[in-house]
C-alpha cells in the first residue's frame, strides 16, 4: 500500500467512523430525557425554591432592624443605594430614614452591601423575577418619605435580630406593581402651550425643594420637609 493511497483512503475511513460515532451519540441523546427545566410554569416546584441557598437575587431591606448607619450605601461601588436620614423634631429628635432607595436595574448583585450591615437588615433574596416595562420602576423604595421609619436601636448584648422571612418583603414590593405600570415622572412635563407656569399647582410638599428633587434619583436633599405623620 503506497503512501499516496493511504493518504487518500485515511480521510474516507475517518469520515465513516466519525459519522458512525456522531450519529450514535445524537441518537442516544434523542432517546434520553431532556435536561432542560421548562421555566417558568412547568417546573415541579417553583424555580425560586430550586436555587442554591446563597443565591444573590434582589436586595431586601427589613426596615424594622435597619440602624440607619448607611454602611451599605458607602459599601456600594456603583451607588445603587441612596439613603437619607433626618432628625424628627416631633419625636424628640428621633433619627428617621426618609429615603432608602435601591436601584435594582443598576445593582450588580456583588453582595458588598450585605457584608457591613450590623444587623443583617439588608440581604440578598432568592427573588429574581421583576420584569418591568419601564426601567425606572425597578427602583425599590424601602422608606416612604411621607412615613419615614425610625432607626433601629440595637439592644445591649443582642446577637440576633428578628427579621421578616427572607424574600417576603421584596416579593410583596414586586407584586404590588403591575409589570406595565407607568414610570414615575422625574421632571415636570413640558408645558403644552405657552401658558404661564402655575406655581400654585406645585404641591406644598415640594414647594421648598427644586422640582427635580421630587424624584428617586439619589440626591442628598431630602424630599420631605414637613412633619412626618405617624
Amino acid at each position: 500500500m503506497s503512501q499516496a493511497f493511504r493518504e487518500y483512503a485515511a480521510p474516507v475511513v475517518r469520515t465513516f467512523t466519525s459519522i458512525w460515532d456522531g450519529l450514535s451519540i445524537t441518537l442516544s441523546h434523542l432517546l434520553r430525557r431532556p435536561t432542560t427545566i421548562q421555566y417558568p410554569d412547568r417546573t415541579p416546584i417553583s424555580v425560586r425554591d430550586m436555587l442554591p441557598p446563597r443565591y444573590r437575587g434582589f436586595l431586601e431591606v427589613d426596615a424594622a432592624i435597619c440602624t440607619g448607619c448607611q454602611a451599605c450605601e458607602r459599601a456600594c461601588p456603583i451607588s445603587v443605594i441612596a439613603i437619607a436620614v433626618e432628625k424628627d423634631p416631633a419625636q424628640g429628635n428621633q433619627r428617621v430614614v426618609t429615603q432608602f432607595d435601591i436601584d435594582l436595574a443598576k445593582c450588580m448583585f456583588c453582595g458588598l452591601c450585605v457584608e457591613p450591615c450590623p444587623t443583617g437588615s439588608i440581604q440578598h433574596t432568592r427573588e429574581f423575577e421583576g420584569s418591568q416595562r419601564h426601567v425606572r420602576n425597578l427602583v425599590v423604595r424601602w422608606a416612604d418619605p411621607l412615613k419615614p421609619f425610625p432607626v433601629y436601636k440595637v439592644p445591649k448584648g443582642a446577637d440576633h435580630h428578628p427579621r421578616a422571612p427572607l424574600g417576603s418583603l421584596v416579593r410583596a414590593k414586586m407584586e404590588w406593581q403591575r409589570w406595565d405600570a407607568p414610570a414615575p415622572e422625574f421632571l415636570p412635563p413640558e408645558p403644552k402651550v405657552a401658558a404661564p407656569a402655575v406655581p400654585a399647582a406645585i404641591p406644598a410638599a415640594a414647594a421648598t425643594a427644586p422640582p427635580a428633587a421630587a424624584s428617586a434619583a439619589p440626591s442628598t436633599s431630602p424630599t420631605v420637609k414637613e412633619e412626618p405623620k405617624p
Binding site: 487518500y8 459519522i19 442516544s28 441523546h29 434520553r32 432542560t36
Partner: protein, 467 residues
C-alpha cells in the same frame, strides 16, 4: 411603588386534553386530507378518467352528461380544471409538508441537544410553524434601496417554481403521479436547477456582500454536486433501463434485497453518493455554506423579509420531502407493496374505465408505504443535520471532486460489469441482495447496540416520556 396590584392569576389556560385533540385533529387531518386529495385527483386528472368520472356523476345525478359529446373546448376545459385542481393540491402538499417538517426538525434537534424545543403553541408546540408563517406574512416586505428591484422580487418565484415543478413527476403511489414522464429523472434534475438560478439571482440582486457570497457559494456547490448526483442516478437508470420514475420503481421489488440500494454490489455506494450530493444540492447541513450564519449572516436571503423570506424557507424544508422521495424512488423500492405485484393491481382494477374499490385500497397501501419510507429518509436527513458540523469550502470541493465523483464513476463501472454477470448467472443477483441486506441489518443492530451503550455510559436510560 404605586400602581394596581399585580394580577398573578394562572391565566386562562385551555384544557390540555382539548389542546391535544385539536392538535392531533389538525396535525393528522390536514396531511391526510391532502394525501386523500392526491389519491383521488392524480388518477382522475387523466382526460379519459375525468370524462368517465363526469359520466358517472351524470348517471348518479340523472343529468346524463356525456363529455365525449362535448366540444373540443369543453373537453379541454374539463381536463384543465382537473389538472389545475391537482396542481393546487400538490403545491399545498409541499407547503404543509414543509411547515410540519420545520416543527418536527425543531423537536428532534432539541431532543438531540437535551432541550425541550417548541412547546407553547398547541400540544408539543405543533402550531409553531403556523404561528411563524403568520408572523412572516405580517412583516414588512422590504426591498433594499440599492437592490435590483425587479430581480430581487422575482428571485423567490424561481426558487418556488423549481420546487413546485418537481411534484409533476414525483410519484406518490402505484398510479398516483401527476404525470409519469418518460424522462422523469432527467426532468427532476433539470427543474431543480431552477432553484440555483433563483438563489444566484437573490444573491446578486440584493446588492449585499453577504448575499452575493452566499449566492456564489450556492451556485458553485450545487453545480459541482450535480455531477456525482447525476452519475449516481445513472446506476438505477441503467438497472431499470428507463428514465421514468415509475418505471424505476417497477423495476425494483417490495423487499429490501430487491431495492437498487441493496440489490447490487455498487448499490450502497451509489446510494451514499446520491444521498450526500442531494444534501449538498439542498443546502442542508453539513453543506449549508451558502447560508452559514456565523460567516454570512443568512447568505443569499440576508436581505429578504416577509413573504419572500417565507418562500425560501418553504422551499428549503419542502426540499426535504423531495430529496427523500427521490432517494426512495431511485434506490429504496418506492411504493412497492409486499405481496401485491403488478398482477394484483391489474386484477383489482377491473375492466371498467373507473377502477374498482379494491384498486383504491391498494393505491392507499402503496401511498402509505411510500410516505413511510420517505418520512424515514426525512428523519435521516434531519438526524445528519444535527450531528455534523458545517464543513469548509475547500473540504466541500475536495469531497465532491476527489471522492464523490470517482466513487460515482466506480459505482457506474461496477454496475455495468454486474449487469453482464447477472445476465449470465441470475442466481448471483439474488444472493448479493440477500447478503447485502443481511449486512445492512447487522450494521443496524451494531449501531443500535452502540447507541444503547452510549445511553448507559451516561448513567441514563431510554426515556421517551415528555416528548
Amino acid at each position: 411603588m404605586t400602581g394596581q396590584r399585580h394580577e398573578r392569576t394562572p391565566g386562562a389556560r385551555a384544557n390540555p386534553r382539548a389542546v391535544l385533540l385539536g392538535t392531533l385533529a389538525f396535525g393528522l387531518g390536514l396531511p391526510l386530507l391532502l394525501f386523500a386529495a392526491v389519491l383521488v385527483l392524480s388518477p382522475l386528472s387523466r382526460p379519459v378518467m375525468a370524462a368517465a368520472l363526469v359520466r358517472w356523476l351524470g348517471q348518479a345525478l340523472g343529468t346524463g352528461w356525456e363529455p365525449s359529446a362535448w366540444s373540443a373546448t369543453g373537453q379541454q376545459l374539463l381536463y384543465g380544471v382537473s389538472i389545475a385542481l391537482l396542481a393546487v393540491v400538490l403545491v399545498s402538499f409541499g407547503a404543509v409538508v414543509s411547515g410540519m417538517t420545520v416543527w418536527w426538525e425543531m423537536r428532534v434537534s432539541s431532543r438531540m441537544q437535551s432541550r425541550v424545543g417548541y412547546n407553547r403553541v398547541g400540544a408539543a408546540g405543533f402550531f409553531q410553524w403556523v404561528a411563524d408563517a403568520v408572523k412572516l406574512l405580517f412583516k414588512e416586505d422590504l426591498v433594499p434601496a440599492d437592490a435590483d428591484h425587479a430581480l430581487f422580487r422575482a428571485a423567490p418565484y424561481f426558487v418556488l417554481v423549481g420546487f413546485a415543478l418537481v411534484f409533476v413527476a414525483l410519484p406518490f403511489g402505484e398510479s398516483l403521479v401527476a404525470a409519469d414522464l418518460d424522462v422523469g429523472v432527467f426532468y427532476v434534475v433539470s427543474v431543480t436547477a431552477l432553484v440555483v438560478v433563483g438563489i444566484l439571482l437573490a444573491g446578486w440582486s440584493s446588492n449585499s456582500k453577504w448575499a452575493l457570497f452566499g449566492g456564489m457559494r450556492s451556485a458553485a456547490q450545487v453545480i459541482s454536486y450535480e455531477i456525482p448526483a447525476g452519475i449516481a442516478i445513472l446506476v438505477p437508470v441503467m438497472l431499470a433501463g428507463t428514465l421514468s420514475l415509475q418505471g424505476i420503481i417497477r423495476a425494483q421489488g417490495p423487499w429490501p434485497w430487491q431495492w437498487f440500494a441493496l440489490a447490487t454490489p455498487a448499490g450502497p455506494l451509489a446510494f451514499l453518493v446520491f444521498f450526500v450530493a442531494q444534501l449538498a444540492e439542498g443546502n442542508r447541513t453539513p453543506f449549508d455554506l451558502p447560508e452559514a450564519e456565523s460567516e454570512l449572516v443568512a447568505g443569499y436571503l440576508s436581505e429578504y423579509s416577509s413573504f419572500r423570506f417565507a418562500l425560501y424557507f418553504l422551499v428549503e424544508f419542502g426540499n426535504l420531502w423531495v430529496m427523500a422521495a427521490l432517494a426512495v424512488t431511485l434506490f429504496l423500492g418506492g411504493w412497492q407493496v409486499p405481496f401485491a405485484g403488478p398482477e394484483a393491481f391489474a386484477a383489482a382494477r377491473g375492466t371498467a374505465v373507473l377502477p374498482a374499490a379494491g384498486w383504491w385500497g391498494l393505491q392507499i397501501l402503496s401511498m402509505g408505504v411510500f410516505a413511510v419510507k420517505t418520512l424515514l429518509v426525512v428523519n435521516l436527513i434531519v438526524w445528519v443535520r444535527w450531528t455534523l458540523p458545517r464543513i469548509r469550502v475547500d473540504q466541500m470541493m475536495t469531497l465532491c471532486w476527489k471522492y464523490l465523483v470517482p466513487f460515482a464513476f466506480a459505482a457506474l463501472a461496477v454496475t455495468m460489469v454486474w449487469q453482464i454477470v447477472v445476465s449470465r448467472a441470475p442466481a448471483v443477483g439474488d444472493a448479493t441482495g440477500l447478503v447485502l441486506t443481511a449486512a445492512a441489518l447487522l450494521l443496524g443492530a451494531a449501531f443500535l447496540r452502540k447507541t444503547f451503550r452510549n445511553v448507559a455510559a451516561a448513567h441514563d436510560r431510554v426515556d421517551l416520556t415528555n416528548w
